[in-house]
């Protein structure tokens, strides 16, 4: 059967990266369509009329929106290869909890690190480190959040690693100094082809952030 898989995406989006990694883990061939968010395509507006956001996964013409919902969908449809969620309900719930935690915290707090200055930035940096330390504690001595292999939480979280360099430069701090085990985990993930091919170069992301700052008039 001819499966048609399309991903509407934007290269620096950590949310888009999640779906890229999941598809790569499962070995799914798909068409990657880069969106210009200042000039959204008719297809994007048609496939995600509610939010008009990327990423959108289109499977045989039907759209799935929201990155973590996409990752779960990919895991359920292509269930015979590289399972991302555990089969045990309690372990699954734990994975969902931590992915939800990443969703609630990292993007928003990270955003404040590069968008603000002075005291607001100092607060954001402190909050980010606290958040990362909690995740580092959850990782413990496991090679991945998923245990012996890449799992749902790893896929949810690793995209943000591509933003770390930009955040460090903007905030003038070192994440590795505060969370060495987490950086070790990130580098371990980056050795996987599915992750390495899905994350953009950190310098490129930094250049993008600088452009955004100029655009929004943030020094």
């Amino acid at each position: 059967m001819a499966e048609e898989v399309v991903l509407l995406d934007f290269w620096p989006s950590p949310f888009g990266m999640r779906s890229r990694i999941a598809l790569a883990e499962k070995g799914i061939k798909y068409e990657h369509k880069e969106e210009d968010l200042r000039n959204k395509s008719a297809l994007l507006l048609q496939m995600n009329p509610v939010h008009k956001k990327i990423p959108v996964l289109i499977h045989n013409g039907k759209p799935v929106c929201e990155s973590l919902i996409q990752v779960q969908y990919i895991d359920e449809v292509w269930h015979d290869k590289a399972p991302l969620l555990p089969s045990d309900p309690y372990q699954k719930a734990t994975a969902r909890f931590w992915a939800d935690y990443v969703d609630k915290k990292i993007y928003e707090v990270g955003g404040r690190v590069w968008k603000t200055k002075g005291e607001k930035q100092a607060t954001a940096k402190k909050e980010l480190i606290e958040t990362l330390k909690l995740l580092e504690k959850e990782l413990g001595d496991k090679p991945y959040f998923g245990g012996e292999s890449l799992g749902y939480v790893d896929v949810a979280f690793i995209p943000f690693y591509s933003w770390f360099y930009a955040l460090e430069k903007c905030g003038n701090f070192s994440i590795e100094a505060e969370c060495p085990k987490l950086i070790a985990w990130a580098k371990r993930c980056m050795q996987k082809e599915s992750v390495a091919k899905s994350l953009p170069d950190q310098q490129k992301v930094y250049d993008f952030i600088l452009e955004m700052k100029k655009h929004f008039g943030i020094e």
Binding site: V50, Y73, V77, K92, A93, Y101, L134
Partner: protein
């Protein structure tokens, strides 16, 4: 079989309610512990939910599960009868989409519309109406979001269908009205009239004064800020 199921909740919490309704729909017996969330949270609550320190917490044979939607998914996967999520992955993804939409857009905006100061209320109200129109489209002529029977989207939408309706009564607002949103209004009536829902919802006469007090507190805190 000795199953130990406990719910740490708060009688007026719409999130806590979701966990209880799901267990009732599955016919699972549980012990309910009401937490004094505005006063003194118990040591057990802080032990079982150290990250967020919130209700609801589901305790199953000593293991804790937190965050209402995570709890709903866990209950569905553990007690595999009276299923409330579709089996088909695409339909499941669609249900999850609407659940996220309710929790991130509908419910928070509707709550905000209830207590915002006069000068901000119109903008928030317009936004809330847009979200309700979108949510109504998800019903698509069905009796419930889950089809003929209550599904997970309905469980989550109880926050809008019941708790927000009570809130609006207090504030003299008429956002979720039969003429503006006929399908959504009818759904909220049908939902509240299901026997299992009717007997488990916190009673209106108790909820009204509680929400009134909560709104007053929000308005006070906002005025101070």
């Amino acid at each position: 079989m000795g199953e130990e199921v406990k719910v740490f909740g708060y009688w007026a919490s719409p999130y806590s309610y979701r966990a209880e309704l799901a267990l009732k729909l599955k016919g699972v017996s549980y012990e309910y512990i009401n937490e004094d969330i505005f006063g003194n949270k118990s040591d057990l609550l802080l032990k079982y939910n150290p990250v967020h320190k919130k209700v609801p917490v589901l305790l199953h044979n000593g293991k804790s599960i937190v965050e209402s939607v995570v709890i709903l998914e866990y209950i569905e996967e553990t007690w595999k009868h009276n299923l409330y999520l579709p089996q088909d992955p695409y339909d499941k993804a669609t249900a999850r989409f609407w659940i996220k939409f309710i929790d991130e857009k509908c419910f928070p905006t509707l709550w905000l519309a209830a207590w915002s100061p006069e000068n901000e209320r119109e903008k928030v109200t317009n936004e809330a109406c847009e979200y309700m129109k979108t949510l109504e489209s998800a019903l698509n002529g069905k009796k419930f979001f889950g089809g003929e029977t209550i599904g997970m989207v309905d469980i989550v939408a109880s926050s809008v269908g019941y708790f927000i309706r009570v809130t609006q009564e207090i504030m003299g607002l008429n956002l979720l009205s039969a003429d503006k949103f006929p399908q959504l209004f009818q759904w909220s009536e049908d939902f509240a009239n299901c026997s299992i829902v009717k007997e488990s919802l916190p009673p209106r006469d108790k909820l009204l004064p509680f929400v009134k007090g909560l709104i007053a507190k929000y308005q006070q805190d906002n005025a101070k800020a």
